[in-house]
């Protein structure tokens, strides 16, 4: 399953918005198969900050751990945020 992050917005900076996005995505997650990888695609995101990511990505990581894969995270704020939250694969 692929999560297109830009579908939640392109300037993702606040905790409430991150929490709301996480809750909104729960129904889609119920379709994830037991052995399926959850791909998080940051294509199209302009700004991401740790507050938003902490509410959306950290609980996903805690739930799916090595089944979570990040792609298209070359945007500077996305890379720095993922590093700060220790969510890049080389940090896991």
């Amino acid at each position: 399953m692929i999560i297109l992050i830009h579908k939640f917005g392109t300037t993702l900076i606040s905790r409430p918005a991150g929490k709301e996005a996480y809750l909104a995505f729960q129904s889609s997650l119920s379709n994830l198969q037991d052995d399926e990888t959850l791909i998080v695609d940051f294509d199209g995101v302009i700004t991401l900050s740790p507050s938003w990511a902490d509410e959306f990505l950290t609980p996903l990581f805690e739930q799916y751990h090595d089944r979570l894969k990040m792609i298209n995270y070359s945007n500077a704020s996305v890379t720095e945020t993922l590093r700060m939250l220790h969510l890049l694969s080389e940090q896991l």
Binding site: I13, S14, I46, T47, T58, A76, E80, T81
Partner: protein, 226 residues
């Protein structure tokens, strides 16, 4: 009052530096007092007067983000301007740290604003972003979860160096650590004050070297330069 000629005022109006209000019948230009004050004082002085005073002053609504939604909308506008002038990489990082500092004010004062809700947010023509709030400040916020913090300096150091949140149930708090990492690795300067403690961070000032100043603020005041 402004010490410039009428031609200069006309030029500023055309160029957007100081917009006039036109009288339809006569075509005369009128300038709003708030615009003239902004030109004379600049956003930094207006922010300081609003945030540092004991008594609440009214704040020009163009600078006052009473809610997070207003801040988000204005920050996105600034982000687009920054992307045009600086490129997407630096624009995304400046937007991210501005968002972290501004949203910190909302996160940590929600339901507890001492008087005026919301934050001051503006940018200057000299590539500076100014944020300020009349909130509770970092010491009062963090001392709820760490009683060892005795003064504003301790609180400022903790906020920029430790994973600490004033909201116990979260157990997170990466915001100002993220800000520090970004400003110390990119051509960005940050001055941040809470209480009587001020820190300046940039590529050459990576340590949290807190200065104690005489003019204290209950909430927070930040200037990001790029």
């Amino acid at each position: 009052m402004l010490g410039v000629s009428i031609d200069t005022l006309r030029r500023w109006d055309r160029g957007g530096k100081l917009r006039a209000i036109r009288n339809g019948k006569t075509g005369h230009r009128y300038f709003a007092d708030s615009d003239v004050q902004l030109y004379l004082k600049g956003p930094m002085i207006i922010a300081r007067q609003w945030a540092f005073d004991d008594e609440v002053r009214s704040l020009d609504p163009r600078f006052h983000c009473r809610t997070r939604d207003i801040f988000q909308a204005r920050l996105e506008t600034l982000q687009n301007k920054l992307a045009d002038s600086l490129g997407i990489e630096l624009a995304s990082l400046i937007t991210a740290i501005t968002g972290e500092i501004g949203n910190n004010s909302f996160d940590h004062n929600l339901g507890n604003w001492p008087d005026e809700l919301g934050i001051f947010f503006s940018n200057t023509q000299n590539n500076e972003i100014v944020l300020a709030d009349r909130g509770r400040g970092i010491l009062l916020t963090l001392s709820r979860v760490d009683t060892s913090l005795k003064n504003h300096s301790d609180a400022l150091i903790a906020a920029f160096s430790r994973q600490i949140s004033g909201r116990p149930s979260e157990g997170r708090g990466n915001g100002l650590k993220f800000v520090r990492r970004v400003v110390t690795t990119r051509p960005i300067n940050l001055v941040f004050q809470t209480g009587d403690a001020v820190v300046e961070l940039n590529q050459h000032k990576t340590d949290i070297d807190v200065k104690i100043v005489s003019e204290s603020i209950r909430g927070c005041y930040a200037v990001i330069s790029y």
